[in-house]
Amino acid sequence: MYDIIVVGAGPAGMTAAIYARRAARSVLVLEAVNYGGQILNTPDIENYPVEAHISGYDFSTKVYEQAKDLGAEFVFEKVVEIRSEEDKKTVITPKNTYTAKAVILATGSENRKLGLDDEDRLVGRGVSYCATCDGNFYRNKVVAVVGGGNTALEDALYLSDLAKQVYLIHRRDSFRGEETNAARLKEKENVEIIYNANVTKLISEKRLKAIEVTDKLNGNVRTIELNGLFIAVGRIPENRNFADLIKLDDAGYVIAGEDCHTNIDGIFVAGDNRTKMLRQLVTATGDGAVAATEAVKYINNK
């Protein structure tokens, strides 16, 4: 039996592991893919205190090595179920069953999909969720961005410097995002903003060729031929596997305050999958520290 099992090796989970090891507790980190989490996708972090520029990969590798050097154990298996009993928690992966005195859920979030037919098949064949990752494939091509938040605006701006033509498809009639980005976009000659509209169909052969866009007000359907569609409609927390046990809000986030306590004694939450104001690295690592400290306190009081 471990003292603490951390689920997810993103910034929150790995920081929790560091704090738990510093408190001399045994720690197992279970991660579905590889250490790092979402931040792997960014080539340049500019807002984390200590370094003005660092890539997401370098950032996470440093945190990973710090946690490992302190003695945290990492196993790459996806957690599919957690069971809670009075004196132990059981954590289940497709390969193994582990037990611990306390558990920290740090599963972060994943890209929200549009939910259209063929969307999964076309990822990497014209459909992308990351403009800074895949924008280079669309030099002098025609692309569309769907979404209306800051990410969508930033993606459209970024792509407007690479692509021949950029369509920005937004389901409302104005942007909630930063005013400055919206204003800059409106000045770009190669950007067309389509308001009050949804992408309703992906048209493809081997790869994406066109999209159908439906006007929400009058129902008119317009077909846009393009090479790439960038989907930036937000992220969803990865808490589905724990929904039977852990109380979630309507959007799927674990309901917890700054103390990172869930509704279950001995199960804590840290990072982007928790209800909170700001989802960034600093708040994720902050949560990791709090959750580990609370978990250690819980174990000590048993």
């Binding site: 790459f76 064949r125 014209g126 992308s128 494939f137 081997k206």
Partner: protein, 103 residues
């Protein structure tokens, strides 16, 4: 084996005409998930003599990327007897890479 760097000049020999199955890793230096996957691929190349793992830098080899319809990286394409048999896009786990190779 170690990972073989492949470009458009040696692609045919190294990949299409290979006697053993090939896993082609389309990647780029600036791509974090690609860098994250690299150590896993390096280790697998060492421990799986029955496979060849090749690396293709999509910035230098944009023609190859286009020929194989790669528009999102990391992209792993499994080849057998010169034919594509499997493909995955995005960061995947070590086990998922192994499955892709078993095809």
């Amino acid at each position: 084996m170690t990972i073989v760097e492949v470009n458009k000049d040696n692609f045919e020999d190294e990949v299409l005409k290979s006697d053993i199955p090939v896993l082609a890793d389309f990647n780029a230096e600036w791509c974090g998930p690609c860098r994250s996957m690299k150590p896993m691929l390096e280790e697998m190349a060492k421990t799986n003599p029955g496979y060849k793992i090749v690396s293709i830098d999509i910035d230098a080899e944009d023609e190859l990327a286009e020929d194989y319809d790669v528009s999102s990286i990391p992209c792993l394409v499994a080849f057998r007897d010169g034919e594509e048999v499997n493909r995955s896009v995005g960061l995947i786990s070590r086990d998922a890479i192994a499955e892709l190779m078993e095809g």
